[in-house]
């Protein structure tokens, strides 16, 4: 398990960052441009918050990246369910899944730019990154389904709906939960990277790129903080939903 983020530790690093930024500004002409301080980044974030453009960019990126995540999760669940009892389908899907896992995301982004318009890019890339971990983990979970319970269900003629909630869902949910937590981190990183390369108008990625071009490092940090908050918020929301399902399955 990853160590917890302790407030004192975070505060210490923020202080170090503030000190480093001030030292750089004092030592090098224009040093403040190279490394904005956390205070500057926070101030810039507060300036951005009331603007409609900020919410539009955050909304556009969230919609596309989380949309790609949800679509891919659904597809991965469906295909893993179908592939669980069909080794030929597992074999058929193995090469593309391995390719998506191995090929650098930048290659896919550039390739996708040839096929798609830049607005669909983050949706596509996010979906692409999510599929392998969710599909492989759910498949692993289904492979471990308790055969004895399946036999019980056969003898007692338990209908499919009850089998799904009683046997499959509790078996697969822990696998799905850990995979979706991993995939959520991946899809936000890859999705924003796709926006930075594809530059769709009115997105977080475009704002990051603009901040880089004009050396607006406070903006860069402010938007990075926005990405972290959005990713963490969506992850919490999604995992709370999954945990609700776990509780329902266990009721």
């Amino acid at each position: 398990m990853a160590p917890k983020l302790r407030p004192w530790s975070v505060a210490l690093w923020l202080l170090a960052w503030q000190g480093g930024s001030m030292a750089l500004a004092a030592a090098v002409p224009g040093g403040g441009l190279l490394l904005a301080s956390p205070v500057q980044a926070a101030r810039r974030l507060l300036e951005l918050l009331p603007s409609a453009a900020f919410w539009r960019a955050a909304g556009n990126s969230s919609l596309r990246i989380s949309g790609g995540f949800l679509l891919s999760c659904g597809l991965a669940l469906l295909l893993a369910s179908l592939a669980a009892g069909r080794p030929w389908l597992q074999d058929l899907l193995a090469p593309p899944v391995a390719a998506v896992k191995a090929v650098p995301v930048a290659s896919f982004i550039i390739l996708a730019l040839v096929w798609l318009d830049s607005r669909s890019l983050s949706f596509f890339i996010s979906a692409l990154m999510v599929f392998p971990p969710v599909y492989l983990n759910v498949l692993e979970g289904l492979r471990g389904t308790d055969v004895q319970l399946l036999e019980l269900a056969q003898v007692y003629r338990i209908p499919l709906r009850r089998r799904i909630w009683g046997i499959y869902v509790p078996q697969v949910l822990p696998f799905f939960r850990s995979a979706s937590s991993l995939a959520l981190g991946l899809c936000w990183k890859a999705g924003v990277a796709a926006e930075v390369i594809g530059l769709p108008a009115g997105t977080v990625g475009e704002r990051l790129y603009t901040a880089k071009i004009y050396l607006q490092t406070p903006d860069l940090f402010a938007w990075t903080a926005v990405i972290l908050v959005l990713a963490a918020g969506f992850e919490r929301l999604f995992l709370a939903l999954v945990d609700g399902l776990v509780r329902k399955a266990g009721a």
């Binding site: 056969q154 007692y156 209908p159 009683g166």
Partner: protein, 187 residues
Amino acid sequence: MELRVEGLCKSYRGRPVLASLTAVFREGVTCVSAPSGMGKTTLLRLLLGLERPDAGVIHGADCLWAAVFQENRLLEDRSAAANLRFALGEIPGEAGDLLARLGLELRDPKPIRDWSGGMKRRLALARALLAPSEALALDEPFTGLDEENRARCLELIQERGRGKPVVLAVHGLAGLEGAPLLRLGEP
């Protein structure tokens, strides 16, 4: 109603477990006795349709079964009531009384993972006795039970098994002296 098996053969990896078994299971309890590994569970699995025989035929087994397996096969993280709901759909009105006769509490909200082995075994038996069925297959249902609980369970099996074939695989035959007996693994 009766079940008949004729010339039933089953081998695992070349080792014969059942060799040309012929038997009839009439209404009421029929005991199946054998040393460990001599085909009791295999016979029950064949009757339940969970395995196919290598040779021979089974007549009448295509009916509505309820069973106690060698393992309890319960949902460990759920309560007794939830386990019954999972297997039976709805909890029959008589469930509370039947469980009470087995020394169990239907409304116990604890997940059954917190129960003792004997309590789980009795719940597995209660599930089989409460399920609508035309035949019962009970694979060593008294495992882990003391004398008193064994006697209670046996009384309920005889009571609830009336009018249907009950195939009861057991090690010890105490209390079952009058029941037809099929011995497996004997020359």
